[in-house]
Symmetry: C2
Subunit: 214 residues, 2 copies
DNA sequence: GAAAGTATGTTGTAATTACAACGTTTTGGG
DNA sequence: CCCAAAACGTTGTAATTACAACATACTTTC
């Protein structure tokens, strides 16, 4: 098994090669290869496996009963999936996971966490906690930014957060228009239009990625 | 300090009274009372304190530069706030927290986590991880359910999840119409209307909280 | 520095949603 | 059982958004 990818992951941050090897053994690490298109998990399943993509990529998707398919996430090399389900072993998966291309996945048993010695376990849990907390903050922010019904409200919510984060009324954002539109769940053209109106109304000034709140 | 409320919290699940007392000391637990309307945290601040409401309630709110106030969360007795910020000590708060009524808050230093013995620390981290992971799943679901631009899409996304969770095409939901509308971020009347149309189109059958996917 | 490609801004129309107003059904006391 | 209150469904209109089509500006490459 190629542990170099694992070594650079946030999960094993602070662990050296020897410790990682021991951890892999203790967590019953199992490597498995999948052909493109193969289903790795399907909704309704229960798992305690934290999954790590060591090669290729997988899609997390929702396939509903009316035949609609929505890709929720593309998980590439060095990234995880199914963390939430692994850590909440009583919750059935609400999504499907498929191999986007030929890929290799390492499965780590979270049930086996209990068998680890307390020091190692605490360090691993701390890393996991950082990962989930960061994701949490991210999801909360987006939820807040997309909560207003109108485009202007969403823009203002977003810009205010950026301004607080950057400690300034003037700042650059890392989204281009299309990305910002997708993030705020609005049309790109409508977003551009509303930004223009907001400038005319004297609320903001902006040019490309640079914004100023007035 | 009244630890009975703390004792019943998810954070201290599995800990007995003695352990909780020791933990409180180790985490530099500090109790503080606030008059209604007082600001407890304001956006931009940094904190490593996990905050627990032992009496009264607080509001987590966003107050933007244009004077808009949005209440994001009402945190009552026995509940936490600022967990994410406490666990990510480099991230400045993006929200304000105010005393909704006269209240008492216990602050626990997460920086002091490192000083705990490994066994206790691992148990506490495991509890924290359960809390954040559960919240995570919840936020992800909502994000998915409100992603479709149209009302019908949101309803279908939501009903599909419920159906998978309940392992059946027929199930009850725990939202009434107004709550479901708020959750999906649509108008109640538009929701009612769309549900009717979906029944006419033969996609679902529903009556009050009971739904059937066809 | 011209050409091609990409990102952004603008506008008009069709489609969707918000909102208010009102009728109907359900629920919970008395 | 009746009444009042709450929850739910329906409808019409005003407001907003989606979408397409096109104009403009900026970037990259040769």
């Amino acid at each position: 098994m190629d542990i170099s990818v694992l070594h650079n992951s946030i999960l094993f941050k602070g662990f050296d090669d020897t410790e990682i090897s021991e951890l892999l053994k203790a967590l019953n690490a199992a490597e498995k290869k999948y052909k493109k298109g193969t289903m790795i998990f399907s909704s309704g399943e229960i798992t305690d496996k934290l999954c790590f993509v060591t090669a290729g990529s997988v899609t997390v998707e929702s396939n509903d009963m009316w035949g609609n398919r929505t890709i929720l996430n593309l998980v590439g090399e060095g990234q995880f999936f199914a963390e939430s389900y692994a850590l909440l072993p009583d919750v059935p998966m609400l999504v499907d996971v498929c191999a986007a291309v030929d890929c290799t996945v390492v499965f780590l048993s979270m049930k086996s966490l209990a068998d680890l010695n307390d020091t190692i376990r605490a360090r691993l849990l701390a890393n996991l906690l950082t990962i989930t907390t960061r994701k949490n903050l991210h999801l909360s922010s987006r939820s807040f930014h997309t909560a207003p019904r109108q485009v202007r409200g969403r823009i203002m919510a977003y810009l205010n957060t950026e301004s607080v984060q950057k400690h300034s009324r003037e700042f650059d954002i890392h989204f281009d228009r299309q990305q910002l539109a997708d993030y705020l769940n609005v049309e790109r053209s409508v977003l551009s239009n509303e930004l223009s109106k907001m400038q005319r109304d004297g609320l903001i000034r902006c040019r490309k990625n640079h914004f100023e709140i007035i």
